[in-house]
């Protein structure tokens, strides 16, 4: 199974090169891969519906006890099939939809990578792996939304989606880590079988909040739903695949997967149900106001995600069963409708529903696909959407009145929305569109027609998907489930409820303009609200980042140095005083000869004179005195080589100083008294620190010096009597080579700076 998940990444990386071999057939060839995966998953169907989940583990980070484990149970299989089957159709479709687009290879790269990541999300049993795949879907989604990267709106939408889902992802990471810590395992199956520790822990509400933040942002629940309609900037195949059929369902999947682990509590019930109910109603209402075909579909997708969330929140057997049926129905009709919308856009050049009409004559095949999708979405028999809605109503009526009302109102609105998106562009008089429409090539109608056929087939024979859906519900509920789906339940209250919904839906559709006017007052609140907060938050982030940069990256060297020196001095002083044995320091003044005293005092005076010098020449003179005094110290303590070098270099430096700074302006007093005092304080702190360090360092000797080796072998191995020289040219010869190189580079730098002619003349 690891091959099934990870081979997608390999193919994704190869895709751009493979594309160049045969641009014309690449789409069809790539679509064979998800098709093969779909067959692979289908081959496991029998075992999985019999209740035998396939579980494989591979060692991942054994040192940390992490395993890469995959678990194919009913829920995973349902999602994996949705991902691979829809993936096959999408990739076939995209080859024609984006035909000739210069970035098509990149599209294949990201869409295949997304598919592999999504499979990883729904099959991982390990929380960490799940999180990694989860983030990969966010990132690939970012690239796919921003596919038309030369458009401002596409880039903004991509960033918005990434920021919203990415923030949720971070919360999820914290939640997942907490779950692993508290529950004692990172395997979901292990946590599900023993969830007492999690439920009893005082951090349980926090874990829930973090997981919800991840799931709700990903599945676009109110108030985070605004990113999904914006994400319609993506090419239509992407919208159909990521933002309807698969990725946005990851949040729903997560809630379903975690409900045996975290679910069953009152918080879970009220929060998940509440968010779901609010989302389904608010976004179904917002869908009515859209004129862009894709945005209508996007808002209705959000509404369905809300429905699924609410059902998982309710968490009883009927609700979970209904969620699985509804989910499958949605995948079948919504992906089809998106592909239809893409075809319409592709063929007519517009997605504005006000400009579309009468397309049934010019695009008959697409019209058939659209009609089935729309009727299924409206919940009409004999399509699978009807079965889904019946299951939904059954679950809701068994629960309570409030959710039933919300469910009926939402279905009523979605009925009207389905008509608006799937029927109206094809009915009525033909309209004038930017392009002259006709049916697209087979690659572009295959998807809607195939999914439409499934909608009809499963609608007429609901027993076909029954076992898979039972297995999926079973893995959420943690027990065996045998559900019976039927198109015809006889005359019962549910049928009445359905009929009422249809009647109300027709009423809404016929009076959609009037309804829009009447409820217009509520629109700004729901539409502008969260996306406006997002804009404000983004402005705040930019503002605070700019502020921090102004404070920290202020461009004043003295402030940088002052900060570094102060921090170093404080930390080092603290460490020395806290750790070092200051008692070992002995001030031995007795062994200092008179000449040493004189030299010491001269150095001190000269170095202070350098600092206090009012003219440049005095400063350089004093600096020279310091340099020569250092050389004399070398003479006193047995280092004639150093002394010689120091004398030479000091002389050279002095000449250079005078030579260069002859042209510089005289010293000015820039700093105020306060600044000078502060800098004196910092300097003194650093200086005193070094005095102390020298005293500590000379009082201790931890290791035997390696100089003995050099002393013993200098003549025998290096054939030299001056040990310092032998070290430089022999024992540490490469260091000296590096040093010479540095000097040469500095020399070249000096030479080129002098020769460089800046300003008017241009280069020299």
């Amino acid at each position: 199974m690891i091959v099934a998940v990870l081979s997608g990444f390999v193919l994704a990386l190869l895709a751009p090169s493979l594309y160049r071999l045969s641009p014309r057939w690449a789409g069809c060839v790539f679509s064979l891969f998800p098709a093969a995966l779909a067959l692979y998953f289908l081959s496991h169907m029998e075992g999985v519906v019999a209740g035998e989940a396939v579980r494989v583990t591979y060692p991942w980070v054994p040192a940390m006890g992490l395993e890469l484990s995959f678990n194919l149970d009913g829920l995973g299989l349902l999602f994996a099939l949705a991902i691979t089957v829809v993936g096959t159709l999408i990739i076939t479709y995209a080859g024609s939809y984006l035909h000739g687009h210069p970035s098509l290879p990149r599209f294949y790269l990201f869409i295949l990578m997304f598919m592999a990541s999504m499979l990883g999300v729904v099959l991982s049993d390990n929380l960490i792996a799940l999180f990694v795949f989860w983030e990969l879907t966010s990132i690939t989604s970012y690239f796919l939304i921003g596919f038309e990267h030369d458009k401002d709106t596409a880039r903004a939408a991509a960033l918005q989606a990434l920021l919203v889902t990415g923030t949720g992802g971070l919360a999820l990471m914290a939640g997942v880590l907490l779950m692993g810590q508290i529950g004692g395992s990172f395997e979901i199956s292990a946590l599900a079988s023993d969830n007492a520790a999690l439920h009893g822990h005082h951090l349980y509400p926090l874990v829930l909040a973090l997981v919800f933040a991840g799931a709700f942002t990903k599945s676009a629940q109110v108030p985070f739903h605004f990113w999904l309609p914006s994400a319609m900037e993506a090419p239509t195949p992407v919208s159909a695949y990521l933002h309807s059929a698969t990725m946005v369902k990851a949040g729903v999947y997560l809630l379903a997967r975690f409900s045996p682990v975290l679910g069953g509590s009152d918080i879970w019930l009220y929060v998940v149900t509440g968010f779901g109910a609010a989302t389904m109603l608010v976004s179904a209402y917002q869908a009515l106001y859209q004129t862009d075909l894709k945005k209508i579909l996007a808002y209705s997708t959000v509404s369905v995600l809300g429905t699924l969330t609410m059902l998982i929140g309710l968490g009883n057997k009927l609700a979970i069963q209904a969620a699985m049926v509804f989910l499958m129905a949605h995948v079948l009709y919504k992906a089809a409708l998106f592909l239809v919308a893409g075809s319409i856009d592709h063929e007519t050049g517009t997605r504005d529903v006000r400009q579309l009409g009468g397309l049934r004559k010019t695009m008959p095949i697409i019209c058939a696909g659209a009609a089935i999708g729309a009727l299924s979405m409206a919940g009409l028999p004999p399509f699978f959407g009807f079965v889904g809605k019946e299951a939904l109503y059954e679950a809701l009526t068994h629960d309570n009145m409030l959710v039933t009302v919300v469910g009926v109102l939402t279905s009523m609105l979605l009925f009207a929305v389905a008509w608006l998106a799937g029927i109206r562009p094809f009915s009525g008089e033909e309209t004038h569109t930017p392009k002259h429409p006709h049916d697209p090539p087979w690659t572009m109608w295959l998807g809607p027609v195939f999914l439409g056929c499934l909608s009809v087939l499963f609608g007429l024979m609901p027993a076909l998907p029954e076992k898979l859906l039972s297995a999926a519900a079973g893995s959420v509920l943690g027990k065996e489930v045998h559900m019976h789906l039927a198109l015809w339940h006889g005359f019962n209250p549910l049928l009445v409820l359905s009929l009422v919904t249809f009647a109300l839906g027709v009423l809404v559709y016929l009076n959609v303009d009037r309804l829009q006017k009447v409820t217009e007052f509520a629109l700004p609140a729901v539409r502008r609200g969260p996306s406006h907060w997002y804009a404000l938050w983004l402005r705040f982030l930019n503002w605070s980042a700019a502020g921090q940069t102004r404070v920290l990256q202020n461009g004043y060297l003295r402030l940088y140095l002052g900060t570094i020196m102060t921090v170093t001095a404080v930390l080092a002083w603290y460490t020395v005083l806290a750790q070092a044995d200051v008692g070992v320091i002995e001030f031995n003044w007795g062994d200092i000869g008179i000449h040493e005293w004189v030299l010491g005092v001269v150095t001190l005076v000269a170095s202070i004179a350098t600092v206090r010098a009012q003219t440049f020449l005095r400063a350089v003179m004093a600096l020279g005195v310091v340099g020569y005094s250092v050389a004399l110290f070398f003479v006193l303590y047995g280092a004639p080589d150093l002394a010689m070098t120091q004398f030479l270099i000091e002389t050279l430096s002095l000449i250079l100083f005078v030579f260069v700074f002859y042209y510089m302006p005289p010293f000015k007093r820039f700093s105020t008294r306060g600044v000078i005092l502060r800098h004196v304080a910092i300097g003194t702190a650093v200086g005193a620190l070094f005095t102390l360090l020298v005293l500590v360092a000379t009082s201790v000797q931890w290791h035997p010096t390696i100089s003995t080796y050099f002393s013993q072998n200098s003549y025998l191995m290096g054939q030299g009597r001056n040990i310092v020289n032998v070290i430089l040219v022999d024992f540490r010869g490469f260091d000296t080579l590096g040093e010479i190189t540095v000097l040469a580079v500095a020399g070249i730098g000096v030479y080129s700076l002098i020769r460089l002619r800046l300003g008017k003349g241009g280069g020299s």
Binding site: L557, R558, M565, N588, D641, V660, S711, N722, G759
Partner: protein
Amino acid sequence: MEALLAIVIGVLYASGVYMLMRRSIVKLIIGLALLAHGASLLVFTAAGLTRAVPPVIPFGEKAITGTVADPLPQALILTAIVISFGVQAFAMVLAYRAYQTVGTDDLDDMKATDT
């Protein structure tokens, strides 16, 4: 004798750090030079001072017999002196050219990248 040198090193570091924080670019380079002297003496002193003879093997001998000054820190300092000279020379010329171009030796006026 370590006590005396420790104080000398401390004063060199203090004045070097102080000069590094001046606004005049000339003073900054002088600070660099002071810091380099301080660092040389620091390595020299920290390794242990002796008034013994230089680390040279007398003629006729194959290895050191008596006490000599430690050769290793001397080799390190030799490198340090030369490198710091290279850095200072480059910095001086750079400051000079910057002064010619920008027309000021005040670091605060050299903040912007496009002057």
